[in-house]
Symmetry: C2
Subunit: 255 residues, 2 copies
DNA sequence: CGGATGATTCGGTGCTCACCGAAATGTTAT
DNA sequence: ATAACATTTCGGTGAGCACCGAATCATCCG
């Protein structure tokens, strides 16, 4: 069918974002749980998600179909497996922001093991491609205090910060950093303070992983600070000891 | 009931953000329409929203109850009226991001007047407290080209940009700018390119309104560029003429 | 006071959709 | 080939919820 400029414009003009359709994807307990699980930045199989969400495999299939069709998830099929992950950093960031705005719901804790696990999650965990939890928040705070980041029209990298990054061996403008915008912060749902996300957050996470300052649990989102990491975080950033290990008490809120 | 430190921590640990509950608020066509309407940054009465969304007043009441209880909307009651608005800038920003991620839905256009209205909306409109549409995107682009903004670890204000702001009479660190973070961009759902949001976007919008570079339609989100504005935008920023009036053709995509 | 107006409560209706189980499909392992 | 496994298709069921209209409540105005 022939379409002239006017018709093409009409077409463009006559569109509106279907917010409800997108929200409907997340409005289901099970689908929301799947998305939160995938916020670890990893790739899961349909079966793993079925067990995690405690629903039948057939139900999971339907949910994944919707989420993929809606553009929230990317999928990759290998043999009889279906691997899914979040579609991209934008998706992850929006989910994080949404989670920060969401009300809180009590979660049952049945055993000491579960309690310890949650404690570890609160201390340090992955948030897609960066560090969240008390450790992530402490990083953002200390970097601000030290003048590596500044709050001027937002959180930005200072000259000192750029220098510090270079000293660490993180190039201040790489291919992955250039196209992805922002020193961003997102509200941490455990500590309710901001932590670093965006390209800078991702770069720091990768760097810390490479140097084995932190290690990631293969099955969960939990991060542990290694002995090397403890030293590095303390010496290079002056992170207080409380931020470096899961403890019974939380650091006092900023004041 | 007495609660020691351990119990308090347990309580905090045993919470998780209820993403599904929040998303459910937006998963309804009518409620989503209400939120999108409120993205104009204004305050609406229940009756106005009922007419806008084309549902019975009783239905609107129920929706508003849910949205207010969920923390998305703030309400203020005066006499027999119920005024509602978005809860805050965070809410608006998250909604914008979500809308940018959402799929597009064709919207019926029944008359020439409606077509013109949509054209105007695409050209320039309010997005909570800043400028969106082709004009908003053009602003962001031109400011970047002119070196007022730079993409280094994200979009930041350059020294030249700060100077330019000062010359305009916008203080580079005001009370409202300091506490609200970020030179932010959000994906425009009409042009699908980023426009300026965050504190800087809000400051620019206010400034342009005060100088009457633009005027806002009292009933819709449509912005019109005045004759003064045309001159100001062109002289101070070098905005191309295409960006200054609604036209039949769109500016070519960047490249 | 009495009438108009904006908003709310409530009961009832219809539709959507999350869920499961059983059977089927396709893939890897023995 | 046969068996074990991961996922999918399909039919049926039950619960949740968006909607309306009619009646009610509260406020403003003459």
């Amino acid at each position: 069918m022939y379409m002239n400029r006017w018709d093409a414009d009409q077409e463009k003009l006559a569109e509106t974002p279907d917010l409800a359709a997108l929200a409907a994807l997340l409005a289901d307990r099970t689908r929301a749980a799947i998305c939160m699980a995938l916020l670890d930045g990893g790739t899961w199989t349909a079966g793993e998600l079925a067990e995690y969400a405690a629903v039948a495999p057939s139900t999971t299939t339907e949910h994944l179909n919707l989420l993929v069709a809606g553009g929230l998830l990317a999928e990759e099929r290998q043999g009889r497996r279906r691997y899914v992950r979040l579609a991209g950093p934008d998706t992850a960031e929006t989910l994080e922001n949404l989670a920060g705005l969401a009300p809180y719901r009590p979660v049952p804790i049945r055993s000491l093991a579960e309690a310890n696990q949650r404690r570890a999650l609160h201390h340090a965990r992955t948030c897609y491609d960066h560090i969240a939890g008390a450790l992530g928040c402490a990083l953002a705070e200390v970097m601000t205090e030290r003048g590596l980041l500044a709050r001027e029209y937002g959180l930005v990298l200072t000259a000192a910060g750029a220098h510090w990054l270079a000293a660490l061996g993180i190039p201040d403008t790489g291919p992955s950093l250039a196209h992805r915008a922002h020193v961003r912060t997102c509200l941490d749902w455990t500590v309710r303070r901001p932590h670093l996300s965006g390209a800078l957050g991702a770069a720091l996470y990768r760097h810390a992983l490479e140097r084995r300052w932190i290690v990631k649990s293969p099955t969960t989102r939990i991060l542990s600070v290694t002995e090397t990491g403890r030293t590095a975080f303390r010496d290079r950033l002056g992170l207080p000891d409380e931020a470096l290990s899961p403890s019974l008490t939380f650091p006092a809120p900023r004041g």
